[in-house]
Amino acid sequence: MATHTPRRHGGVFDVLQEWITTVDHKKIGLMYIGYALIFLVVAGAEALLMRVQLAVPNNHFVSPQTFNRLFTMHGTTMVFFVGMPILFGFGNYLIPLMIGARDMAFPRLNAFSFWISAFGGFLLYFSYLAGSGLYGAGTAPDVGWFAYAPLTSRVFSPGHSTDYWTLSVLLSGVGSIGTALNIVATALTMRCRGMKLSRMPLLVWLYVVTSCIAFIAVSPLTAAQIMLVIDRYLGGHFFDTQAGGSAVLWMHFFWIFGHPEVYILVLPAFAFANEIIPVFSRKAIFGYPAMVAATVAIGFISMGVWAHHMFTVGLGPEANAFFTFSTMVIAVPTGIKIFNWLATMWGGSIRFATPMIFSIGFLFQFLIAGLTGVMLAASPFDWQLGNSYFVVAHFHYVLVGAILFMIFAAFYFWYPKITGRMMSETLGKWHFWLFVIGFHMTFDFMHVPGLLGMPRRIYTYEADRGWGGWNMIVSIGAIFQTAATLIFVYNLIRSYYKGEEAGPDPWDAWTLEWSTSSPPPSYNFAEIPTVHSRRPLWDLKHPDDPDTNYE
């Protein structure tokens, strides 16, 4: 079986074959990132269409039916086919490099997980082509990204548009669980000599916790989707209120997945911050054990907060009190993390390179998002603002202001490792400032129409409501964000050909991935390293003052 065939680099088919058959964690990671970027552009375009529609009152840019499809596809795509894959992509690429391994624990399963979630994404968008062509009943799914029952029953959504949603989310769920399993197994069993759990880079720790949340959170979604399939195909009654089924049960099942999902998405963003902030502050991370403990605490508490998405359902005083409190308690470990990042920066000699300024933007915006989150956690406040644009503004503050900002930071930080070339700092600064302006125009001002009573998911509104001006500002912000993202994409492509040579360690960083060449060879390390502290490269660079003396 051991073949000596050298890699051919020739025709398109050879390249295609190389990528389709690969089990290399780096190539799989890149495929994850690439496919997430494609869907990011698609779902971003959907958001832009919605903002054009809402910019002025009584607009008829898109039809109400199209608008329903747009927000459903935007939400589903962004969560399942952008957020999860891009974060899993970075995890796939970085984790073996950071723990000194040559590949993931299960390389073939890794490829399988990637392909099955990729096919899930294709299936979702195939609905635009096939949904009406074969059955003439609706095209893309239009039931909202949380697809509340009984809207999803055969009576209310005939044809197959809802089935496309269910099945593609089911496929993506299988892939997510496979990759999460792989990440945990890799981190626990593939570490190089000397890499104890207490020395593992924080990024790896956070990915392990994320993956454990994924087991407990994504599986209920899979179960709920199976039930929905049984209802729709076999005539079951799980969510069929006519036969005694419960629509609220779907809500519970969905949010048991839905809220931990926020943490599945945000913990990798924290993970990037944990690696980037120390390097650009020139200090070791403050409070490593506290960071790990806070992450584990978030993982546990995140399982007990789901029903705060359901205050408006009417859960009764006891449940309201419980979920209000648990939601506020989760602010404590999150706060510890923010303090630790600030303490890491405090007294350091901070270098304001592009990854760092994105991280600083993340810190500020995440703080604000946390504050509006605590506001919404108070159930009376939520009764007033539930399902309004205030909620939309709040969670976009987390998803864009925190997660997307850290994803951008991660791109600028690890691009030199992945390609061997630096990204342009000038374009990076343009990207940052344009995006910050656009972000704040859109999502700061989006809180206001929410407070004024504008409900989410309406396709237009009357002119006399006083929402017009605010919506116009929000939509103009979206244009700024689009421009900034285009600069980013241009920077990605341009730097690949014309970027400055990076060398193995352009940022003078301390984790193992910077000890191999850029881009790393397929086997990562010619010789498996041995580590003696949390910052192995610091030890090598400063043999006179190694970290080992302090841990």
Partner: protein
């Protein structure tokens, strides 16, 4: 899961990490448990809420014999691993064959139970909430039993062909952990469906 890995290293020379297959199986079990918990919750939530008959009390009988078969197959698979580790391939094959047989009996009696429910009692997945939740929960478990049986049969075929040696004991152990999990789920399903739910 991380509790299983609390290995303390006195020196960095004795560098041992948990088994890859075991950690992977533990993760799979965690994820599968979550799926089963959701189905069990749905079953409990809908107990007694069916608008029409038949009710569980009318149609369900305690499947004592098949339960005994399934639970004892946990013991036989344990012995199969034990013998393989000791290098006794022949005995391992025998225990594996026993396991497959016991699991087969379980699936057979489930099939018989379903046949009677459908054709004699008129209970299908469409009939009422009991039918929906019963067939999906028991069916989900049965599908896991079938998957386990397929893998065990493959292991049996390999061991009869003589392609298995003590080197493979760890892989068979991983498979046996899965089989124990399937048995443990049956204990829960049995309690919920046949004892409490009646």
């Amino acid at each position: 899961m991380s509790t299983a890995v609390a290995v303390s290293h006195s020196t960095e020379d004795d560098w041992k990490q948990p088994s890859r297959g075991m950690v992977g199986m533990a993760c799979l079990i965690a994820a599968e448990s979550a799926i089963f918990i959701i189905f069990v919750i749905a079953y409990i939530f809908y107990t007694g809420k069916s608008l029409t008959g038949p009710t569980p009390r009318e149609v369900l009988d305690l499947p004592i014999f098949s339960t005994v078969c399934l639970l004892s197959s946990s013991i036989t698979v344990h012995f199969a691993v034990h013998q393989l580790r000791a290098g006794k391939i022949g005995q391992c094959s025998a225990w594996l064959a026993g396991t497959v047989l016991l699991g087969g009996i379980f699936i057979g009696s489930t099939a018989k139970e379903w046949y009677e429910l459908i054709y004699h009692h008129g209970l299908t997945i469409r009939t009422n909430l009991f039918g929906t939740t019963f067939y999906s929960l028991v069916g989900l478990h049965a599908s896991h039993v079938i998957a386990g049986l397929i893998m065990l049969s493959l292991a049996l075929i390999f061991s009869l062909q003589g392609k298995v040696n003590a080197h493979h004991a760890e892989r068979l152990e991983v498979l046996s952990v899965y089989w124990h999990f399937v048995d443990a789920v049956w204990v829960v399903v049995f309690t919920v469906v046949y004892v409490l739910g009646r």
